[in-house]
């Protein structure tokens, strides 16, 4: 059954969209990630114009992060103060990112920048995760009981602690400068606008390794920030570029919500390190596919773009 998407202006099979939503939802439920980094490239592959894919995916992430953030809010596993600070940075990052997106689109380079961002970030994050989980699996197989746990033990004093404007974060038990959260928030907000991702895959490691937040509040706080940043991105993209397709977003959301529940159940049967290794493997695979497309000689050496710089 075909459905014509009003903003993307193409006709797509409804079941393909529901299936994509469910498949990515399953993986995101299993691995506890947003799935934007998988969905946005998949939307490119099925022919959704990149500008519409990125903006619409931000809209879908609003839905998925809302249900996650609510659950963490109820369980009090969310540092609202830190989230608010990340959000200040994130909101400015999102505003900047939407402008940057429009500018790059006018140059006709948006596809390249999106691909390069994906290859860069997925490569770094996937690679790090892969080595980290491989080491964890290796240790466990040798019966090494030493915990390399993060957030436990005493922190070393680093450059982070020497920054000014310190603030207390009771929920996370931290007393740190407001600069790193705002900078991280800004960075992730920019990524969200350009790449059509929530940015959890950058935010979560940054919170653990740079801010040294306790792991139990990391996911909730990240979802809290992502919810508001993607909501702002959606409104900005809709208001400025008219690229949010609500029909597409809703179809992906319906599939995603259902898929995520099954994924979360499936995830409970797999060990955490193995799950992380699998996720890393997937992240690297998407990265390699996009990277390969950048270097392989394209089928057509010319690209026809609309006047706004988007492939029509």
């Amino acid at each position: 059954m075909q459905i014509y998407l009003p903003i993307a202006e193409i006709s797509v099979n409804v079941f393909l969209l529901l299936g994509l939503g469910a498949g990515v939802g399953f993986l995101s439920g299993m691995f506890g990630v947003g799935g934007g980094f998988l969905m946005t490239p998949l939307l490119f592959f099925i022919g959704i114009p990149p500008a519409v894919a990125v903006s619409t995916e931000a809209n879908q992430i609003v839905a998925s992060s809302a249900s996650g953030a609510l659950a963490h809010w109820r369980r009090r596993t969310l540092d609202a103060k830190m989230g608010g600070l990340l959000l200040v940075g994130g909101a400015s990052g999102s505003i900047f990112g939407v402008q940057l997106f429009a500018f790059l689109r006018s140059l006709g380079q948006i596809d390249l920048i999106i691909s390069l961002s994906y290859v860069g970030f997925l490569g770094i994050v996937g690679g790090l995760m892969f080595f980290e989980s491989a080491r964890a699996i290796w240790r466990r197989s040798r019966g090494d009981q030493r915990r390399s746990g993060v957030g436990t033990g005493r922190r070393k004093r680093g450059w982070i602690d020497r920054l000014p404007f310190k603030m207390r974060f009771p929920t996370s038990g931290l007393y740190i400068s407001v600069i790193p959260p705002v900078v991280i928030g800004f960075f992730v907000g920019t990524l969200a606008a350009i790449m059509g991702v929530g940015g959890g895959f950058v935010m979560v490691p940054a919170m653990i390794y740079i801010l040294r937040m306790p792991t139990n509040v990391v996911v909730g706080t990240s979802l809290f920030q992502i919810l508001f940043v993607t909501a702002l991105t959606t409104v900005l993209q809709a208001g400025q570029n008219q690229t949010v397709d609500i029909v597409l977003a809703m179809l992906l959301t319906v599939g995603g919500v259902v898929g995520a529940q099954f994924g979360a159940r499936a995830g409970r049967h797999i060990k955490a390190e193995e799950l992380r290794a699998l996720l890393a493997f997937m992240v690297v695979a998407v990265c390699l596919k996009l990277g390969w497309d950048l270097v392989v000689t394209p089928a057509d050496l010319f690209e026809v773009l609309g006047q706004d710089g988007s492939a029509h």
């Binding site: 202006e9 959606t234 010319f302 029509h312």
Partner: protein
């Protein structure tokens, strides 16, 4: 009148004694508007027509042209190992849709020069529309025009149906033209030509409007007339969906 008739006889060089009337053509489309609704996945259009003074050597050419749009075409060049869009050229008023149906392969109906002169056929149309770009930049635009043609054919927006025109008895004819799923909205023009000895001797135009309808139209207009409100609405819907999912799956 008689003088014009005589003149046309003389110009044709080989007067056909069977024809006593000047050639003329009329045509109509089965649809005046095509509505793009949520289940739109392309549509076939039929153009019916009648000719007066049709002889056995005459051929019919039907062109359906979509609204013009401005394009930028970029050539990919390898830079530091990756392919980067560069050397952009801007083109104005390039038809977003161009279909041609003929009663014989086009090259057998008229010479490329004759077609170029009358602007019939995709190459001629693109060349005419791209002339300002060519004269402004002084660059070789042929590869760019080829790219535009390839791009349109890939999405079935540029199509050529050799023998897509069926000539029926009594000077009647019928052409079938298909609109693909990616059909752009706007005003379309159908042009019908009667060719004799490689020249268009009569022509007629008909118009067609492609527009969004139903839910498609509502969403599109909402998104374009009140974009900020539409954005807030999208967010509200997403939050609602997230809340419903939370309530449905987290109540244990």
């Amino acid at each position: 009148m008689i003088g014009a008739l005589l003149l046309s006889f003389l110009m044709q060089g080989q007067p056909t004694l069977l024809t006593t009337e000047p050639p003329s053509i009329v045509a109509a489309l089965t649809h005046e508007t095509v509505e793009i609704r949520e289940d739109f996945s392309g549509q076939d259009l039929v153009l019916y027509g009648a000719t007066r003074g049709l002889t056995i050597q005459d051929e019919i050419v039907v062109v359906l042209r979509g609204p013009g749009r401005d394009l930028r075409v970029m050539e990919k060049q390898r830079t530091f190992g990756i392919w980067v869009n560069s050397a952009p050229l801007e083109f104005e008023d390039i038809p977003s849709y161009y279909a041609i149906a003929t009663s014989l392969p086009l090259e057998d109906i008229a010479t490329p020069e004759s077609l170029a002169g009358s602007g019939i056929g995709l190459p001629a149309t693109l060349a005419i529309r791209a002339a300002p770009t060519a004269s402004e930049t002084g660059r070789d635009i042929r590869p760019y025009l080829d790219a535009i043609a390839r791009d349109g054919r890939r999405d079935d927006l540029y199509a050529e149906a050799q023998r897509g025109v069926e000539i029926l008895d009594g000077g009647l004819f019928r052409a079938t033209i298909s609109l693909p799923p990616l059909t752009p909205v706007g005003n379309y023009v159908a042009e019908v030509y009667l060719f004799r000895d490689g020249r268009a001797v009569a022509s007629r135009t008909a118009s067609l409007r492609v527009e969004k309808a139903g839910l498609e139209r509502f969403v599109y207009q909402f998104a374009h007339s009140m974009p900020w409100l539409y954005g807030l609405f999208c967010v509200a819907m997403a939050v609602l969906a997230g809340y419903v999912a939370y309530v449905a799956f987290n109540r244990r």
